[in-house]
Structure formats: structure tokens, C-alpha cells
């Protein structure tokens, strides 16, 4: 599976979304499931998927679907 596909899968599974919901409008707190509980589940899913350990600042900065791609690419060498 390509990295982007894996990335999308994490969002879809954690937030119970379909592919067409994954866009620039998907930001922290924009849907009910992406609250602080959901955020920690997302981080856990991303960490497991890409076998990385994220820093606290990055977890806080990861405030949208798009921003997450940027952080993973720039900080953790996951090309998306």
C-alpha cells in the first residue's frame, strides 16, 4: 500500500469517514469524533502505521488532514 493510502486509511478508520471526506476541510474539532480523545487515537494509528514516534509539539500541531501530511513528510520522512 502506498503511504498516502495508509495515511487515508488511518483517518477513515479512526473517524469513521469515507474517502470523499478527506480534504482540506477536515480539521481538528470539525467533526464530532475528532476531539481530544479521537486525536489521541489518530496519533496512535499514525504511529503504528508508519512505525514512528511523534514529538509532543507535532501532535499538537497536527490540526488538520493536510497539516498532518506536511508534518509526516517534513519531520518523519514519510513521503506522501
Amino acid at each position: 500500500m502506498e503511504n498516502l493510502e495508509k495515511y487515508d486509511k488511518a483517518f477513515m478508520e479512526v473517524f469513521e469517514l469515507s474517502k470523499e471526506n478527506l480534504n482540506e476541510k477536515l480539521v481538528y474539532q470539525s467533526i464530532q469524533l475528532w476531539d481530544s480523545v479521537g486525536h489521541m487515537s489518530l496519533i496512535a494509528a499514525l504511529e503504528d502505521t508508519f512505525n514512528i514516534m511523534m514529538e509532543m509539539d507535532d501532535i499538537i500541531d497536527l490540526s488538520s488532514y493536510e497539516k498532518g501530511k506536511e508534518i509526516l513528510a517534513d519531520k518523519y520522512g514519510v513521503s506522501l
Binding site: Q29, S36, V37, M40, M54, M56, I60
Partner: protein, 359 residues
Amino acid sequence: MTYEAVLQLEPYQVDRVSKKEMFTKELLRMTEFHIENCPQYARMMRAIGFNPALADNYESIPFLPVRLFKELELCSVQKEDVYKIMTSSGTSGQQVSKIYLDKATAANQQKTLAKIFSNIAGGMRMPMIIVDCPSVLKNRNMFSARGAGILGFSIFARKKIYALNDDMELQIDAIQKFLEEYKGEKVLLFGFTFMVWQHFYKALKQSGRRLELGNAILIHGGGWKKMVLEAVTPEAFNSALRDLCGIPQVVNYYGMVEQTGCIYIECEEGHLHASTYSDVIIRRGGDFSVATDGERGIIQVVSLLPWSYPGHSLLTEDEGVLLGEDNCPCGRKGKYFKVLGRLKNAEIRGCSDTYATKF
């Protein structure tokens, strides 16, 4: 100055002169905002004749008693902008505080906690043992103080495990397995003081078994009243945990659901520290004037965080004493203090204390 800008400042590097200037300006701005946006708050300020435009010091800003959040629905944002409601964990017969959060305030609470916590424990995320039961987070739209605390600290966790099951029984085997898996790593233990004492320390001691926690940091907070009844002082608590489990770093914190995020963490010297984002003022019980250093009084807490509810200046039901400002041997700037306990006759209302009334 936005709160986001305040958060850019380091948690323990603002000296008293800059802090006073910043807090006076910002807290007065918050007072004006809440007057404009929370009708009950505006009525209270009018009733006592407080005009923010005439005030020149944040110490002169009125404080609301924390129990007012139980009696009134104090909210400074439109109902449709309320994102979460946080409650103190009341049991039947006790009224709960209700704290209304919008998205920005909820996010800022988490960010603030992260800034403060990293200063004490480092920015690394650790395997975390939560000394509580999984069911405490069951309603995600209405968090109890216990749930909010656990959730807030979960961001520092890489992997987590609950130490108790829903019958509050210590899961020693599971913890042992968890520790085995993360051998050699620093482990974070988190829980409310009474939970840690009743369901972790006592249960472990009774079992006669041992847990290898020589590389752990224990963070605990949330009410000493029940502990006082158990005749356990903070010092005895720390040394008991150290002796039984070999935990080298036991850190107490002071905080309340009405100002979630802005916790006061104990330094290496055993002093509770106010961070850049909040402050304490000790008031004399008789006339509410500001007490001098070393003088016992009631703790007032002020914080730059609460914009969605008028909780920026609150009078707690705790007694404490100011030990100093900017000159703690640990090197942190800001006020440092000691909590002496609950005011006599104050209703039991700490995070874990409401649970504690069952014992």
C-alpha cells in the same frame, strides 16, 4: 495579546515585573470581555461597582468563588459555540460545576498543559500507566474532572494502560507485562492522589508483590482532604511510594477543573510553581486583602486561559501560603507556594475527593 501569543512564552521565565504588567493588561481585557458576553457576570460586576477601565492592577479584579460554577451556568460564548462541557466529578447529592468550553479554549487547555508538563518531565513521550479505570472516559462530550485530567495527560503517553479495572481492582499482572515490554524506558504513572493511594499503593502493598518502577515518574494531584483523614502528608505519600516501588520522581500538582490546563507543578524543591499562564494570590480570610509572603490565607487563582467562561479570576476553597517569587532555588521564575488544605467547612469538592466520600 492573544492567548496563542502568551503560550509562546516559556512557562517559567517571565519575571515579576513583566508578569504583573502582562496580567494586569490581559486580565482586565478578559474582565471586559466577560462583562460584555456573560450577562450574569456583568450583573455581578455592576452590583459591586467594578469598572475595569478604572483598575490599574490585576489584584483589584474581583474573584468569583469557585462554587458559583455549580449554582450558575456561566458562559461567555454563544450556546452553539459550546464545544464541550466539563464537570467536577460530583456524586449524588452533590452539585457539579459546569465549565463551558469552545473549541479554542479546549485546545488551549491541552497546549498549556503540554508546555508546563514538558518543563518538568521533558518533551519525550513515555509509556504511561493510568491509575484509574477505563470507564472514566465513557462520555466524551461531558468530561468529569477525572476524565479531563487523564485525557489531558494522555498526550504525553506513547502507549497506555489502565492500572485498574472497572471494579477498581489493581491489575498487577497486566502492569508487570507492560513494564516488561518497555523495560529500560522511562515510564509515566499518572493518577489522582487518592486513587494512587487507595487503589495502587495500598493494593500493591497488600498483595505483597513488587512492581519495578525504578525508572518511573509519578504525577499525581487532585485533593488532599481525604488524604488528611488518612493521616498521610504529602511528604509521607512521596516516601511511601518511593519505598514500595522505588519510584524516583514523585511530582504533585495542584489544579482545578475551573482552570483546567493551568496546573501548578511541584519542583525539585517540593514547591508548587505558578507558570507564565496563570498566577496565585493569597488573600487574608478576614477582609480578602492580599497576604504577605509566608502568611496563611485563601488561594485565589487567575489565568489568562478562560475566554469561553468567566473563570479568569477565582477564589478557591483552599488555604495556602506564598513562599516567594522569582527566587526558588530550582531556578524557575514566578510565584511558588504551598497548599495547606481545604478551608474548614468547605464542601468536599476536589477531583478525586468526590469519589473519596465513598470511603
